[in-house]
């Protein structure tokens, strides 16, 4: 049944061969397989079996319109762009067939037809080129890159710099330190070094099971000399911080300016 109606449709539309009719029947069935109206037009144009430059745009327009008619009869839903193309081709057809109205604007039917022919030829050419491109030797299939590439190893090289000025300044620094040595010597009796404090703390630490104030750790006779007391307090405090850091002691102060208290760290017997 549908076969007959299709045949009738096309017979009335134009004189085309049985083979072309078959093609168009299959076109209708495969409409989803087309990539848009231009693709469909190209397929129809191929059925004209002529050089793409010599296709009859008028004939093509009729074939397309016939196709759309059949699709409608078969209740195949066509996407909007197929219908837009149909409307445009109908317009093109009228332009090609009827003489232009005097004073009419826009491109002539021939210009539009020529561009459509160009588009189809170009699409055809791109299809051919795509096929030739894919037919080329391909990397990873026909030829291959290095299987064991060796990466460039990035090495960091440190270059140390120093100028003669750096050298002299450094020496000056050490000599300056040296020059002040007598100063230390002359004051030695009033200075309690951190090393001395550390020694003393280490010997006392074993007995400091209970919390005791920092003062308890100061050396004998500290109260006699203010200078000495200052130095000894500072050194003992610094030494106790070292011992806390080393995990040997614990330190606390209940509030600001309250006595600083120390004791041996629980569980430490060293």
């Amino acid at each position: 049944m549908p076969d007959d109606s299709i045949s009738d449709m096309f017979d009335t539309a134009s004189n085309i061969s049985i083979e072309d009719r078959r093609l168009q029947e299959s076109l209708v069935v495969d409409v989803a397989g087309f990539e848009g109206p231009l693709d469909l037009l190209l397929t129809l144009a191929r059925s004209q079996k002529v050089d793409m430059r010599r296709i009859s745009v008028l004939e093509l327009a009729e074939q397309y319109l016939g196709f759309v008619e059949v699709a409608k009869q078969l209740r195949i839903e066509l996407a909007a762009d197929y219908l837009v193309m149909a409307a445009w081709l109908a317009f093109l057809k009228s332009r090609l067939l009827l003489p232009p109205e005097p004073g009419e604007e826009g491109p002539s039917g021939e210009e539009l037809a020529a561009h459509l022919a160009f588009q189809l030829e170009r699409l055809e050419a791109m299809r051919r080129s795509a096929a030739r491109l894919m037919g080329r030797d391909q990397k990873g299939r026909d030829f291959f890159a290095r299987g064991i590439p060796e990466d460039v190893e990035h090495k960091r090289k440190i270059k140390y710099t120093a100028t003669i000025l750096d050298l002299m300044q450094a020496y000056a620094r050490t000599r300056t330190k040296d020059q002040f040595k007598p100063l230390h010597l002359s004051r030695r009796d009033a200075v309690y070094t951190m090393e001395q404090a550390l020694e003393r703390m280490k010997s006392l630490i074993g007995h400091a099971i209970e919390w005791g104030t920092l003062q308890q750790f100061l050396p004998e006779g500290w109260q006699n000399d203010a200078k000495f007391r200052r130095s000894a307090t500072a050194s003992t405090f610094a030494a106790s911080l070292e011992l806390v850091k080393a995990g040997k002691m614990e330190i606390r102060q209940s509030e600001m300016f309250a006595p600083i208290e120390l004791r041996r760290k629980v569980g430490d017997h060293g």
Partner: protein, 219 residues
């Protein structure tokens, strides 16, 4: 005098045969094509990379591997006639859709080309997925924006594309000369009133450009 001679020797480039060996080692080690400049940077001072490449290329003529030019870069690849031996190395490539293949071909032959132009040639809209796939394969990349209203982005093919298809340059695409001579690569504007003739400078194009790439585009 002696000192001058010493300095000369110290800064003299190695003999050409040695330069050729070095370029050979560097090209062998890399799976990616390398530019002359990249090679030069790794060689001792004063080497003539171009000359070394020419003689190296000659040396490998007819061998199992060949020195090939890929765009402006150089690489060593196995001879195409021996591909059948490398079944184990063969990478199964994803079968590309017709849309992807055609879009790729259009970009290659028409580059730099915009999305609207691709759509004009194919007569259908180009799906985002198609462009994404080609970008992911590293076969296409963004070119400069077109200086037309809407400043649409353009697409061009990459060095990886040339490498993959064994092309020295886009000028070596099959049949490109004939296509150009017959005017099929011309950007012929559609006369008004044609379907799909508008749509140049689609606002959607903006989605496609990451900030970084934009920087590149306007360098």
């Amino acid at each position: 005098m002696v000192e001058q001679k010493l300095t000369e020797t110290l800064f003299q480039a190695p003999p050409m045969a040695e330069q050729e060996r070095m370029v050979e080692a560097i090209l062998f080690a890399s799976a990616e094509p390398l530019g002359k400049k990249e090679i030069e940077e790794r060689l001792p001072h004063g080497c003539d990379v171009a000359e070394a490449l020419v003689s190296l290329r000659k040396r490998y003529e007819g061998r199992g591997v060949a020195v090939v030019k890929v765009g402006d870069n150089w690489a060593i690849r196995t001879a195409p006639d021996l591909g059948f031996l490398m079944q184990k190395e063969r990478v199964e490539t994803r079968k590309l859709s017709r849309a992807a293949i055609e879009t790729l071909a259009i970009i290659a032959y028409h580059q730099p080309t915009t999305r609207a132009e691709i759509e004009e040639i194919r007569g259908v809209s180009v799906s985002r997925g198609t462009i994404d796939l080609l970008l992911e394969l590293d076969w296409i990349k963004f070119g400069r924006r077109r200086m037309t209203p809407g400043r649409p982005v353009t697409f061009i093919v990459t060095q990886e594309f040339l490498d993959h298809f064994g092309l020295e340059s886009a000028r070596d695409l099959p049949g490109v000369k004939e296509l150009r001579d017959s005017g099929l690569l011309d950007n012929r504007p559609a006369p008004g009133m044609m379907p799909g003739a508008e749509g140049e400078g689609d606002a959607d194009d903006d989605d496609y450009v990451d900030d970084d790439e934009q920087e590149d585009m306007f360098e």
